[in-house]
């Protein structure tokens, strides 16, 4: 795997095909925990962690279990199972072994157990025919893209709360959805970006 290939996967996952703004995956935690900057950061880090792990294990299950037996059509179900079990396991492991990391990520981990961005990264890895290294890179950078997206949006929302004037009917979720749409529009600007 060439360096430029990895770089283009990373750039693609972070900016050009951002999971939130372009693919519209993982909107639920994106809207749910983007009210404050510190919770948004915690969530973003947890997503990087889980997406990276999910890519690794789903690739292994797909390559050595599903493909040899001709069961590719069971991918979705198998991946859900793998990711859910994995996150549970990691949570227990962290609580015992790395309490400080558990304190930081712990409350967000169960929230993204079967999140569509996490499942999405596993399915897309298979769809694009990525190898092991490419899958891991795509998973982690996809998570980085999520972190950037949610932190950007949290700052927008914090600012909205203090300054913006809008009709009362838009209070809360409506204005959040509208501003998310506008940020997504801005991200469309990356669509022409390419590494050759």
């Amino acid at each position: 795997m060439s360096f430029s290939g990895i770089l283009s996967i990373a750039l693609g996952a972070i900016l050009i095909e951002n999971f939130i703004y372009i693919k519209f995956l993982g909107i639920c935690p994106f809207m749910g925990v983007s009210k404050k900057m510190d919770t948004a950061t915690g969530m973003g880090l947890a997503v990087i962690f889980v997406m990276g792990l999910a890519s690794v294990f789903c690739w292994i299950v797909n390559r050595y279990l599903l493909v040899p037996l001709g069961l590719e059509y069971m991918q979705t179900v198998a991946y859900i199972l793998v990711i859910a079990a994995l996150v549970q396991f990691v949570e227990m492991f962290l609580q015992k072994s790395v309490p400080s990391l558990y304190q930081a990520l712990g409350i967000y981990l169960p929230l993204i157990t079967t999140n569509c961005a996490v499942l999405g990264v596993a399915l897309l890895n298979t769809q694009y025919g990525y190898g092991f290294v490419e899958s891991v890179v795509y998973g982690i950078t996809g998570g980085v893209g999520f972190l950037i997206a949610i932190v950007l949006f949290a700052s927008v929302r914090e600012r909205l709360e203090l300054t913006a004037e809008y009709p009362e009917a838009f209070e809360g979720f409506p204005i959040a959805l509208i501003s998310a749409g506008l940020v997504a529009l801005a991200f469309m600007g990356f669509s022409g970006l390419k590494i050759s």
Partner: protein, 270 residues
């Protein structure tokens, strides 16, 4: 037919494997929690305010279980200390109730140096030109960052100055960190009077920017029979461990600045 069997076998196998794995993990990685710790945690206020000096309620509960003093939960007060004492089998301790206090009486007693048109937040205003729009650079900016973080609704803005209602204040001190001017201090709930100014400029300069501020004249210091009030850096500061609430300083203050901690200056006058 074989296809279906494979599918069932693989998914069933995976499910069983992960089930077993999690079952084993829950045994291997089980975190033992102290029964006392859980009981103590249940007594605490759950505000995670850090007034006790620990990182949060869970950290304080762990410290208490390990033998730390039981009287540190200020939001919980005597009630909580008593319940923890029951659990720990220790003698109940009295919690000194602390409340927040804003060291400023300025507000509309000051003037604005310029019209501030930015975000209505003290942190933003304080980071703009010359530390905010108010003539006194030490004083309250009145945009209510403290009121926004207060979980108990105890802080309101009156006459351009933040004001803590000490009946509603539970002493969590979240406002201390929110104030960009670091104006908020902890005072005992029982304190009859405090000095509501933080201006460390000399008297004349203070008089120029605020009609209410402390001039550092030391009349309070000279008259205090208990050596509890001192003028440091041109502003009077009270030592609550020595103060007996005798009220001499309040009587002698030429600016009538030493007043009960609740209520605006004018209201406090009567």
């Amino acid at each position: 037919m074989n296809n279906i069997l494979y599918a069932v076998a693989v998914l069933g196998g995976l499910g069983a494997f992960f089930g077993l794995l999690l079952a084993i993990a829950s045994k291997v990685f089980a975190v033992r929690t102290d029964e006392k710790l859980e009981a103590i945690l249940a007594c605490l206020s759950g505000a995670n305010c850090g007034a006790c000096g620990y990182a949060g309620c869970a950290a304080y509960a762990a410290a208490v279980a390990a033998g730390a003093p039981i009287d540190r939960c200020i939001p919980g007060g005597d009630e909580t200390a008593k319940r923890i004492a029951d659990i720990m089998g220790a003698a109940p301790a009295k919690v000194e109730r602390l409340v927040a206090f804003v060291r400023c009486s300025g507000g509309d007693k000051t003037y604005d140096k310029y019209a501030y048109e930015g975000i209505k937040s003290c942190a933003m205003a304080a980071s703009s030109i010359s530390g905010g729009q108010r003539s006194c650079v030490y004083g309250c900016l009145g945009y209510g960052d403290c009121a926004r973080v207060c979980p108990h609704g105890a802080i309101s803005i009156s006459g351009g100055v933040a004001l803590v209602d000490r009946e509603k204040c539970r002493g969590c001190m979240l406002c201390l960190a929110a104030c960009p001017k670091k104006l908020i201090i902890r005072i005992p709930y029982s304190a009859a009077s405090t000095i509501a100014c933080a201006n460390t400029d000399r008297g004349g300069l203070t008089r120029n920017v605020c009609q209410a501020g402390c001039l550092g004249c030391k009349i309070c210091e000279k008259n205090c029979p208990h050596n509890a009030v001192h003028v440091e850096n041109n502003v009077a500061v009270k030592d609550f461990s020595k103060c007996t609430n005798c009220g001499v300083c309040a009587e002698k203050c030429p600016r009538k600045l030493i007043k009960p901690p609740s209520g605006r200056l004018e209201e406090r006058a009567e």
